[in-house]
């Protein structure tokens, strides 16, 4: 009896599915590839977090020992600190410039719009490995163009890439150059989503340009800015190419080692697959929780306003 009803439920299920077989067929490649390169790695990586493994010798179950190691890991702490410092160095100027230029490019009176937009955006499409080497030339202490230009202002040459104090600044300059245009385009799209009548109504009421900016543009652009900020924070954490090439993987010493570079060294430099997975997982979960909390706070604040 129950068997019969089982069969008939399966039959009913099949009858519901069958007319849409093309739908499932068309989306199947995504799920196959995701299973192989997304889901399986995600699960396996979780398992790896509890083992000690170099990829060659047999795995060794170590329980929570990786997590304990992480708490005392000086290099990890250093990498997270560097990530924070680099982020603080470049995110405010980058987002400020992006906001300013988005404003200007959104003005109706501006001529040569397409040229300016292309010029500011071009850095985003270029291969980082090439550009980092060009910046390496420009930053060169003795023969670099940057120090040569500073010489005209009677500023003594700065050891951009050879000193622990300046390496983070050099990375920050490279990142500002590379990503300002991207954020500018996102903000430009946000600005174009603000209805023109808001500004007209404000102008009729006699609002000044500053008031319009403060009371219309900024509040309405807040979601876009928040999105840019989230992308930048994640970008700083997982940044790789810039550090790998410009400062030879975080140098001098560990002065520009960020989290992404640290993780790469741990995985493919010292082949600590288990420990690296543990660190990657923990930080990703912390970031996820942090994002959820800030989203909730923002929603509550948005509800009150």
């Amino acid at each position: 009896m129950s068997r019969l009803s089982d069969r008939s439920t399966i039959g009913a299920w099949w009858a519901a599915i069958w007319p849409y077989r093309h739908f499932y067929l068309f989306i199947a490649p995504f799920f196959v590839l995701f299973a192989l390169f997304g889901l399986y790695p995600l699960v396996f990586s979780l398992y790896l977090s509890f083992v000690k493994w170099d990829g060659l010798t047999p795995m060794q179950w170590v329980g929570l020992s990786n997590f304990r190691t992480m708490l005392g890991d000086e290099v990890l702490r250093r990498a997270l600190w560097n990530t924070l410092v680099i982020g603080v160095l470049y995110i405010p100027p980058m987002l400020g410039l992006a906001f300013l230029f988005a404003q200007i490019l959104n003005a109706q009176w501006l001529k040569l719009k397409a040229f300016y937009r292309a010029a500011l955006f071009l850095p985003c499409v270029t291969p980082m490995v090439v550009i980092a080497i060009v910046f390496g030339l420009l930053f060169s202490s003795e023969k670099g163009v940057l120090n040569y230009a500073l010489g005209f202002l009677h500023i003594p040459g700065i050891p951009w890439l050879t000193s622990e104090q300046w390496s983070k600044v050099s990375v920050a300059i490279l990142v500002v150059w590379r990503w300002t245009g991207y954020n500018m385009i996102l903000m430009l799209a946000g600005l174009q989503g603000i209805p023109e009548d808001y500004y007209e109504a404000a102008a009729v009421d006699g609002a000044t340009a500053v008031q319009r900016m403060w009371c219309i543009t900024l509040p309405l652009l807040r979601p876009t800015v928040r999105f840019c900020l989230l992308l930048s924070l994640l970008g700083t954490l997982y940044m790789f190419d810039e550090i790998f090439v410009l400062t030879n993987g975080g140098g001098p010493g560990t002065s520009s080692l960020n989290f992404g570079m640290y993780l790469f060294n741990l995985s493919f430099g010292s082949f600590k697959f288990g420990y690296a997975s543990c660190v990657a997982y923990t930080i990703a979960i912390l970031v996820f929780i942090g994002t959820l909390i800030t989203n909730r706070i923002n929603r509550q604040r948005g509800g009150e306003a």
């Binding site: 599915i17 849409y20 093309h22 590839l33 937009r117 850095p123 270029t126 876009t224 997982y238 190419d241």
Partner: protein, 281 residues
């Protein structure tokens, strides 16, 4: 609104033009430096005051990198892997995007779509090691497959194509084709795809740039010099003891140029694709 401009307005506009032009010059300067350095000798690159134009210009860097780094082969590897990756991505993303846009009554549709969007939250850093091990297990290390397949069909591409089909492909057209006896795949291939050309261009350019510039993954999965793509060749040349900057700049120029041309040709579509990324928030 006011046709006569006040002095204050002129001042603001003048300042805006100056700021914009100065930044544009600064932003283009590294490209300029890349181009002129490619035509300089090592000595010319490091003279002070710097040479603003290579005098006399030399083509030796191009010859050297062609000879020493097997640049032609690297270029071919880059073209084949990027080309394969982009074509596959366009096909699979548009196929899935079409399905999500045009079969809304299929059981489980909403759940499956939310699942696809949810996969965007997974950071690549977490899955890097196991993905690499999958490559080892499949014997894909040092093959084109390792560069073509992973990431070929992703949540963003599916989302982007779905939005486009949803807004621009009328259901009546599909119904009419069905009545004429066109197969479901035939409808996608002959009716949906031609309509989606602008969306495909945008997605294609995004994928092209990501794939062409890919350094870390290519560095991990490629082993023999004959398989190296352009970014890997450039990176490894940079690591040599006496960095051959002229050669690097020549190779760098050849690596950068295709992208700059592609960007300038498809600027509008590309920017549309980037801003669509903001929608997914």
């Amino acid at each position: 609104m006011n046709p006569s401009r006040t002095p204050q307005q002129l001042l603001v506009r003048g300042a805006a033009y100056i700021a914009l032009t100065a930044t544009a010059v600064l932003f283009l300067f590294p490209f300029y430096w890349l181009v002129i350095s490619a035509f300089k000798t090592q000595a010319q690159i490091f003279t002070l005051p710097p040479q603003w134009l290579p005098l006399p210009p030399t083509g030796a860097n191009f010859v050297d990198i062609y000879r020493e780094a097997n640049l032609l082969r690297a270029f071919l590897n880059s073209v084949l892997t990027t080309g394969g990756h982009v074509l596959l991505a366009l096909f699979l993303c548009s196929l899935a995007g079409y399905a999500f846009a045009k079969y809304p009554q299929a059981p489980g549709h909403a759940k499956l779509f939310n699942f696809v969007l949810g996969t965007m939250m997974i950071p690549g850093a977490v899955t890097l090691i196991p993905s690499f091990l999958v490559m080892v297990r499949l014997h894909w290390i040092d093959t084109y497959w390792a560069l073509i397949l992973p990431g070929a069909v992703g949540a963003f591409g599916i989302f982007w194509m779905r939005q486009y089909f949803h807004a621009n492909l009328p259901d009546e057209l599909i119904q009419a084709a069905r009545i004429d006896g066109c197969s479901e795949f035939g409808i996608y291939w002959r009716i949906a795809l031609p309509v989606a050309r602008p969306a495909l261009a945008a997605l294609g350019i995004l994928q092209l740039i990501g794939s062409w510039n890919n350094l870390m993954w290519a560095f991990l999965v490629l082993r023999t010099p004959g398989m190296f793509t352009l970014p890997v060749v450039i990176y490894l040349l940079n690591g040599e003891i006496r960095t051959p900057y002229g050669m690097l700049m020549a190779g760098g120029l050849l690596t950068t140029l295709p992208l700059v041309v592609a960007f300038l040709l498809f600027q509008r579509q590309f920017i549309a694709g980037v801003t669509a990324g903001a929608v997914k928030q």
